[in-house]
């Protein structure tokens, strides 16, 4: 259960993540980055050549031209072609990000100030009824350390697998099975939050009263960490997202152990923003 791609000290680049989509995004990111580096070399290179060759102190005499139609047409057309080259894969990938069909599992994610609530909605085509929601709060040791002048060194907060998980660990993580396409239904309970696991490339705003969705199919079991990314008030930095991906059989066993008499549930399947009233009269 290595924390494969969680942030590490001195990290400089995007991680490749743990899903097909996250790897494709990484490829796109790198492609765009190299395009930018290449353009930067050309533009800045030309500029520095100009700076060193055409100095007055070296006796350079200024030319007087100020137009070159061919050149101008070129540097309008070529960037367009480059952009088309980037836009095509980006469009296909965006479609993939939006394609939640064929999900074998649905989890509802609700952001509150300042914790995440997870409800299992359905699994393998069947509704999940008896499982209590998971309330995912900042881990207590992080919470103690994050207080102003707590005197606790954040570096001393270490998880069992040796990861320094200050502000990136929760009381109860979301548990999902490996190798299963999971659809996340994301909403907010009070203000706008943002649910994001970088390694899944699953990221959506959690907006009160509106339901968004995202998906991930994670093959490798492990603990994956992210954070709320939309400013949501004073403890915005203290509502991490932690997802524990476990092998499928292990998950099945865990889930059935969680199942409770169905009567407990009902309300858990909706996140109500306000008290419900009958439909309005038509004017």
């Amino acid at each position: 259960m290595a924390a494969a791609a969680n942030p590490v000290p001195w990290q400089m680049n995007l991680g490749k993540g743990a899903t097909t989509v996250s790897r494709e995004i990484w490829d796109l990111h790198m492609a765009a980055l190299w395009v930018c580096v290449a353009l930067g070399v050309i533009v800045f290179g030309a500029m520095f050549i100009a700076i060193f060759r055409f100095r007055r102190s070296k006796g350079a005499v200024a030319a007087t031209w100020s137009h070159n139609t061919l050149l101008e047409v070129c540097w309008t057309i070529v960037p367009i072609l480059i952009l088309v080259g980037l836009a095509l894969p980006a469009t296909l990938l965006t479609r993939k990000l939006y394609n939640t069909s064929g999900a074998q599992m649905t989890v509802k994610v609700t952001g509150y100030q300042w914790l995440w609530r997870y409800d299992y909605i359905s699994y393998e085509g069947k509704p999940v009824t008896g499982v209590k929601p998971i309330f995912s709060r900042l881990a207590w040791n992080s919470n103690a350390a994050r207080q102003l002048d707590s005197g606790i060194n954040p570096d001393s907060i270490v998880s069992r697998d040796g990861y320094h998980d200050y502000l990136l660990n929760v009381t109860h993580p979301l548990v999902i099975p490996a190798g299963v396409k999971v659809r996340f239904l994301i909403t907010g309970g009070d203000v706008i939050h943002g649910w994001w696991v970088p390694d899944f490339a699953a990221k959506r705003d959690a907006i009160p009263g509106i339901m968004n969705d995202a998906w991930a199919k994670v093959d490798k079991p492990g603990i994956y960490r992210g954070q709320c990314y939309v400013l949501c008030g004073q403890d915005h930095s203290a509502m991490p997202v932690v997802v524990k991906v476990v092998p499928r059989d292990q998950f099945n066993a865990w889930l059935s152990a969680q199942e409770q008499p169905a009567t407990l549930d009902r309300a858990a399947r909706t996140a109500q923003v306000g008290p419900r009233k009958p439909a309005p009269a038509k004017g």
Partner: protein, 291 residues
């Protein structure tokens, strides 16, 4: 100094009015903010002082410009600057209303259908959060905020108001033509009629608000419909009020013979403004009342 020279630039004299204007605006905003936060007395006093300062500034500043104009201080270049100023001011006003129209269009095209279950996103939003809500318009949302209400029919007072404003645009144009033709009597008459039409519009609009609040339970609290309805018609009404006051000032100035056939920019500026509120109303009538 009677005939300004178009070949020499004109720069106005120093003026104390801008700084008074800013102090007035500051007090007005400070008072309003305090009042809203529940510091009623202090808020109201500061607000009133600010409002009085602004009114006094308006009288003083415009009076100053009118006196300068009557003395013939302004050359044609200054006149063009004034015209551009007014034109682009109206342009920015259009965008102020565009914000609220944009809000209305967004709500009606996207939000309400989603809440009511349209499309993939709507299916989730409606199915998991707002079961049982179906998209209609007018609506006060899934929670029926503000209780059930009835919206005004466009074919009563709003239609009359449309006709009133449309004819007021015609009368102000007739008055303008009369001014350019140097005919004093029709100028005074038709400008007066325009004011009357504007005032009647405002009276009917106030009546409609009263009816909506008292009999139809259609208030600011009536969900998104009440919110968009009152913010759009309310700001329009505010602009009509301003326009009517401006027309009254123009009427007084006409009566005093301030304008001649060539020199009447102030009149034209007010007429533009009046056409602008007229066009906004047509959009309101279409998008708020009818559709």
């Amino acid at each position: 100094m009677s005939q300004p020279d178009a070949n020499v630039y004109y720069v106005p004299h120093k003026s104390r009015w801008p700084i008074i204007a800013t102090i007035g605006m500051f007090m007005f905003m400070l008072g309003a903010a305090n009042w809203l936060n529940g510091h009623d007395t202090a808020g109201q006093v500061i607000l009133a002082a600010g409002a009085l300062t602004i009114i006094g500034m308006m009288v003083g500043w415009f009076g100053n410009v009118i006196r300068e104009s009557m003395k013939g201080t302004f050359n044609s270049q200054v006149d063009t600057s004034f015209r551009m100023g007014m034109t682009w001011f109206i342009f920015s006003e259009v965008f102020f209303f565009a914000a609220f129209f944009g809000a209305l269009f967004y709500i009606r095209t996207f939000t309400v259908p989603w809440l009511g279950g349209m499309g993939d996103k709507g299916a989730l939003t409606n199915g998991f959060i707002w079961q049982g809500f179906s998209a209609t318009w007018p609506t006060n949302g899934p929670d029926a905020v503000g209780g059930s209400f009835i919206s005004t029919s466009p074919w009563g007072i709003p239609l009359i108001n449309t006709l009133l404003l449309l004819s007021s645009s015609v009368t102000v144009t007739i008055a303008h033509h009369a001014l350019r033709a140097g005919k004093r009597k029709p100028l005074i008459g038709f400008l007066g009629l325009t004011i009357l039409l504007g005032a009647t519009f405002l009276g009917l609009q106030a009546h409609e608000y009263w009816e909506s609040y008292v009999h139809l339970n259609m208030t600011l609290h009536s969900g998104i419909y009440g919110a968009t309805f009152y913010i759009l018609t309310g700001f329009h009404g505010l602009h009509v009020t301003l326009g009517t006051i401006m027309l009254i000032v123009m009427w007084l100035r006409c009566a005093r013979g301030h304008f001649n056939r060539e020199h009447h920019f102030a009149f034209e500026a007010v007429a533009w403004y009046w056409h602008f509120v007229d066009v906004i109303w047509l959009c309101l009538f279409l998008f708020v009342y009818i559709l």
